[in-house]
Each structure stands twice: as C-alpha cells, then as structure tokens.
Symmetry: C2
Subunit: 418 residues, 2 copies
C-alpha cells in the first residue's frame, strides 16, 4: 500500500470536511452527537463483534489482563461512550463566542472571536473509548479529526468510526470529518506528521517514547504531555487532618494516573507531628515510602530514597518523601525535579499560599486540595482531550476552548489608516 498517498488523501479530505464542520450551527452539531449516541447503543452487537477480533489477537499475543480489560467493549462501556456523547452535546459551543470587544478612538469596533482550529491529528494508544471521546470534542469545536489509535484496537476503532460517520452523513456532513487511519505501523504516523498544510495540530497521548517520537518528527504543532511528577508540599502551618486526607487521596485514590502525587515534601517543623500519622494511613493502603535521611530518622522503616527517586513517575503505590527546611527548599526541589504538571501546598498561612501560587511553574497549582483535580471535568471545563505540560497554546487540561483559536473581527464605517 502507498502509505504516503493514503495519508495525503485522508488529510486532504479532512481539510475539506473541516471547512464544512467549522460552519455548522450548534444545533446541528448537537443533533449529530445525540444521533451518534443512539447509533452506538443500537450497533452494540456489531461493535462487539469487531472488538472480539481485537480481543482474540490480544490474547494470542499474551497481553496482560489489565490491557485486555481496557480493550474490552462491554455493554456498559458502550453505554458510557454514548453518555459521553450526550454530555458533549450539552456543553456550550465555543465557536463564534466573542470573548471580548472594544472600541478604538477612531470608532472601529474590534472583537476577538473563537474559531475552530481546522484539522486535529490524534495519536493514541489502545483504549477505543478515546476514539469516540476525541471525535465528539473535535466535532463540537468545529474541527475535523484524524485518529490513529493503537494496532491492538484497530478493528474496534474502525467500526466505531463507521458508526460515527453514519450519523454525520445522515445530516449531510462529510464522513471524512472523523477518520480512523487504517494503517497502524509507525510509517503512517511519520507521513502524517509532515502534512502541515492539511493538519493544524497533533495531540499524542500515550507513553513517553511515543510522545518523543511525535515531537521530534512533527512539522505540525504538537500539544504534548510527557509525564506527571506531582508534588504536595506540607507546610509547617498545615492543618494535619487536611494534609493527611489530601495526601492520601493524591497518592492512593488512583495511583496509575498522571495527576497522582509522586513526591511529598514536608516542612521540617511539622514532620515529627505529621509523618508518623501519615505513614500509618499509607501503610494501610500498602504504599511503599522512600525517604530522605531526615524522613528516615522519623520513619526508620521507609526505604532509603536515591537520586533516581526524585524525578520518578512511579504510577504505582510508591511515594518519595523529603523533609525540607522551608518552603524555598520545597519550591527549588519542584523546579529541579518536577514536570510542570500539578503541584499543591497544604497550608493555613495566607502569604505562603500566595507565594506558592506565584512561584510554582505548573499547569495546575492548588492550595489545600488534591492533585487529582487536574482534570478537565473536575476543573469545570466540561470534558478534556488531554493535558498539556508545555505552555504554547494551552497549559494544563484541554477542553473545547483549547480546540479553538481566536481571530479579530472589525466593524467600521469607512475608516482608513493615516
């Protein structure tokens, strides 16, 4: 197969379809999304039949039970995808919103209006629900999408895209607005990343090596998220009950995700009061603690932390713990080892809260709340297509607004420049 030509044809078709979806009335987009939701549930059997092929192949390959679990499209999972579509339909349409408008001394009225980005390329691993979620968000924001999922989910993804396209076509919208790339080797990704004329943004989701590959080979802007090495600093003025509750939640509630706490920094003046109680909580959840020498004086059973522990993203029930002499040391530690993802302070001191918010360079900075709130839904964006840890275009969780740009609209009555 001529992959170069395939990718070019798909991208060109996406560009043309993007011009159509960019202009769709909100009402039409919402009707399409609800029709997709209905269609997904109706086609459950057909979807599961395709999914079964992926599952067979995964079992043959000996992939882990957890992997197979994430790949499986049960009735419940399909229903959840349909519900997700209805939720996106209920979100406000960002397109056409005039975010500000002002008048110039010469009478010109100038506004900034949200407009779609155009064509989004999404590169992701094997959860088929991403196919539906990402397509829904892109459509609502007036964009076309090219989806390149993992090879292990290819049959599921193709059938899902087929269902979504059917609803598009029912409303006379070109099905090419939502396309799954049928080729799963890296060559297809490489070709896609060169098509800057037809694709406006690449969003990779997955492991660090995939994301580095994309970042290094792309001529198209990439919104990327390398890793989440999230910190909580427990200040000397912390309310110990709040600190215990928040740190426990940040580590234990879902340890395998990017916004889970990986390192806990504790002010030395509160360490003796706080650490033993906290360690008991963590022991119940079987969290392994890796402590600096000062931590181990208080918690002798903690594993000695090494230099590798500070930048580590464990994604597991492991926590690095460091006792610091003050907040400056904590902030320096975060600047050195952190990933600009999510950081929190537990404090009851007004000026420390202010200083932490101003001095920590992360996409989400919290006072007295769990790092687990770095999530588009939790922060009130309605939904999320990913989290960006670099500052261009979007920093932090990306919702519908982050899938748009703004242009300037100008109303005059004959003004000229002098």
């Amino acid at each position: 197969m001529d992959i170069k030509k395939l990718m070019l044809d798909m991208a060109k078709a996406a560009r043309d379809a993007g011009r159509v979806v960019a202009k769709l009335p909100t009402d039409t987009k919402n009707k399409v999304l609800l029709s997709m939701a209905e269609e997904l549930v109706k086609q459950t059997k057909k979807i599961q039949k395709a999914n079964e092929k992926d599952l067979q192949a995964a079992k043959k390959k000996g992939l882990s039970a957890a992997f197979i679990d994430r790949l499986t499209l049960t009735d419940k999972v399909i229903k959840a995808m349909a519900d997700g579509l209805a939720e996106v339909a209920a979100l406000p349409d960002p397109v056409g919103e005039v975010v500000r408008m002002w008048r110039r001394p010469n009478g010109l009225q100038v506004g900034r209006m949200r407009i779609p980005l155009g064509v989004i390329g999404m590169i992701y691993e094997s959860r088929p629900n991403v196919t539906v979620d990402a397509a829904a968000l892109c459509l609502k924001a007036g964009n076309a999408i090219l989806l390149r999922g993992g090879s292990e989910a290819i049959h599921s993804n193709l059938v899902l895209a087929g269902v979504l396209q059917k609803s598009l076509e029912k409303f006379k919208i070109p099905g090419e607005a939502i396309q799954v790339i049928p080729v799963t080797d890296r060559e297809a990704v490489k070709e896609m990343l060169l098509l800057e004329e037809y694709i406006d943004l690449i969003i990779p989701r997955g492991g660090e090596s995939l994301i580095r590959f994309v970042a290094q080979n792309s001529r198209i802007p990439v919104l990327k998220h390398y890793k989440g090495v999230c910190h909580i600093f427990v200040d000397e003025s912390a309310d110990i009950e709040i600190a215990r509750k928040v740190c426990y939640n940040a580590k234990v509630q879902r340890p395998g995700v990017c916004n889970a706490m990986e390192t806990m920094l504790v002010h030395e003046k509160i360490a003796r009061d706080f650490l033993p109680a906290m360690a008991m909580d963590f022991a119940k959840a079987r969290v392994e603690l890796r402590g600096c020498p000062k931590t181990r004086k208080i918690l002798p059973r903690a594993v000695p932390a090494t230099e590798e522990d500070w930048p580590a993203e464990y994604l597991d029930l492991i926590l690095a713990v460091r006792v610091v002499k003050d907040m400056d040391e904590a902030i320096k530690h975060i600047a050195r080892y952190g990933s600009n993802h999510t950081e929190a302070i537990i404090t009851s001191d007004y000026s420390r809260a202010r200083k932490f918010l101003n001095d920590v360079d992360s996409s989400v900075v919290l006072v007295n709340a769990s790092t687990r709130f770095n999530d588009g839904g939790q922060l009130g964006l309605g939904a999320e297509i990913g989290i960006s840890t670099s500052k261009l275009h979007a920093f932090g969780p990306m919702g519908l607004e982050e899938l748009t740009s703004t242009n300037f609209i100008v109303f005059g009555d004959g003004q000229v420049r002098t």
Copy 2:
C-alpha cells in the same frame, strides 16, 4: 568557535534569567524600561559609532539605499526607540492577571492566571529597532529573549543589547534576560532551533525562505507569518465613496507591508459604477492594475491578469482585480488564493457583513475598514511583536498577552477526589 556550546550556554543562561524576570513586580519592570529609554538616548554617540561599522560594511557590499536607510540609527531613530520603551512601560502588565475565576460544586475556586512563556527566540532581519522593541515586549511579559538579528546589523545589535543589559543589571536583574547572539551564520540558528528544553517559542520575522527554514528545522514551537495576500471584496451594496477611500488606503498608503491589499474582488453588479472611478484614483498613485477578462472589459487599459497574479504578494504598487458574480465566488477565491492574513468587505448589507465575518478564515476580518488596520497598535493591543497566520497559540497580531500562557490556580479547603 564551538557554536553548539555557545548556543547551549546562552540558552541555559536565558532560562535561568527567565525565571527571575518571570517574578519581577510590574513596577520594577517599568522602571527598568524607563531606565533603558534614558540610557539609549544618553549612549547615542556610542550606538552610532557601532552602527557606523555596519553602515560601512553595507555600503561596501553595495546594499540598496533603502536597505541602508532602514539600517541607519539617526538621533531621531534612537529617540523613537526610547519612546517605544516608554510606551511599553505604560502598557498594562499581563502577568498575574486572572482572566476568569469560577466555583465548582465542591467549593473549589478555580482561576486561570496569565504567566510568562519563559524564553523567546527571535530571528529577524536587519532593522536594529526590532532588537529594542522585541526585548521590551518580552521583558514586560516576564520572558527572557534570545535575539538573532541579521548579520548586516550585528554591531548595532550588540551595542544596543549592551545598553539594555546595563539597565537590567542596575536593578540586579541578570543581563542574560536580553541576549544578542554574536554569531550570524545559519549554523547558530540551526543549533538554537534544537534547544527545546531551554527555549519555549521561536518567532521568525523576515522573508519567506528564512521562515520556511525555521519552521522545517525547529523542534521548538514557531509562531510564523508566511505572507499577506490580502483581499477586499467590494459588494454590490457597497457605498462607492467608502469603497474608493478604503481600497485606495489599503493599496497605496504603504504598499510594501503585509497588510496592504493585493487583490480587489468586485461584485459584477457594481463593477461598472465602481471600477472606472477607482481606476482613476489608482492611476494618480501610479498603481498598475492587473485585471481578469471581465475587469478588462470595463478597464481596457488594465494588464491581463494571469494565474500567477491571484496568489501574488506584490508588496508594490500593483493590484490584481477580479470581477466576481457574487459573494460566494469572492469567498471561494479568498479560500483558494488567500493567506489567512487580512480580508475586508465593503458593504451596506447587514447579512452579507455577517456572512463574510463568519465564512472568511483570516486572522483579521473587517467590514468597511482598511486591511491596513491589521496591526497590534491599530487594533488596540498596545504594541506588536509580529503577526501570526497560523492558528495555534495566536492568530493575527501578537501583543503582550500573546507572549504569555495561562495556568490554573485552585483554592480549596481540603477537597479530595472521590
């Protein structure tokens, strides 16, 4: 010289300096800018001495009079640069602005706060005033800047950076926040474009080949501006006096810039009334008209336009003219040949105005006003560091706000995720 090492050292120093300027109080930044303004005027002789070296070299190379004119730092030009610094000091500081804040059902208060981008790499041609303008804007937005100007202005740029750095250091701010790269061959640019760990954004300003080189070699996000093929559509309902005034201004007031009109599209129902009068105005300004066959039926003296004229950016007193049968044809022409830069409609019809604003995919879309208003200063942004014709991060003129990002700040009282 080891260019790789030089660039790495400069970029690392910029990153460190950037951390300092990111946290500067507005008041300090303004004092530094005013001190720079004062110092520039004081050091006029020294600056002119360095500038003289560049001028000698330029004359020896036989560069054009216009080029040498743009390169020359007269007393008046230096005074204008100083005034520019004072203007930036007077602009509102974008850093720390909370652009929105809302409360979640669980009581969390979530805000989006403007933060600096970090380190900006600016690659530009030979106007030394860009050195001062860009440095001022970056400093005010809390960023460090690496400046790589054209080789013809290298002595001027180095002495200007020295003057600016002196003011930084007077306020105990690392001079590395504003650095001019002393090496002017392309190798230095190439090395710079690989330092994604230390540089957050590249802004190239100059000819298309320079910008393509940057875009193709950069691992760092690039805010680019290829060209400005700007259109005005004169609708059948246009007020002819307004159309004449605006089209004349857009073509003639300063033909060599990116927001000048390059193609005029005229509704066939108004062409006979409008074109002869308009052509008389243009004839007085010696504008060469290149017309489609329908145009030449009305203006037989117009040069026949060829297919090359429609995408041309003349930057000169030349104008392509096409008579179209309706607005749809005009919009299609713009989509095909335009550069997403600036487009205007002249109309007295409400729904046409609305449709043009919604359907034309350009960074600035105007009704009854000159394309020449696509400019940060003219649109009210206070100043501008460039114009972006791609949609990621910024689309259109970029002022101080476009040199920032936003993060999320979250105020809680012990909230955890369930």
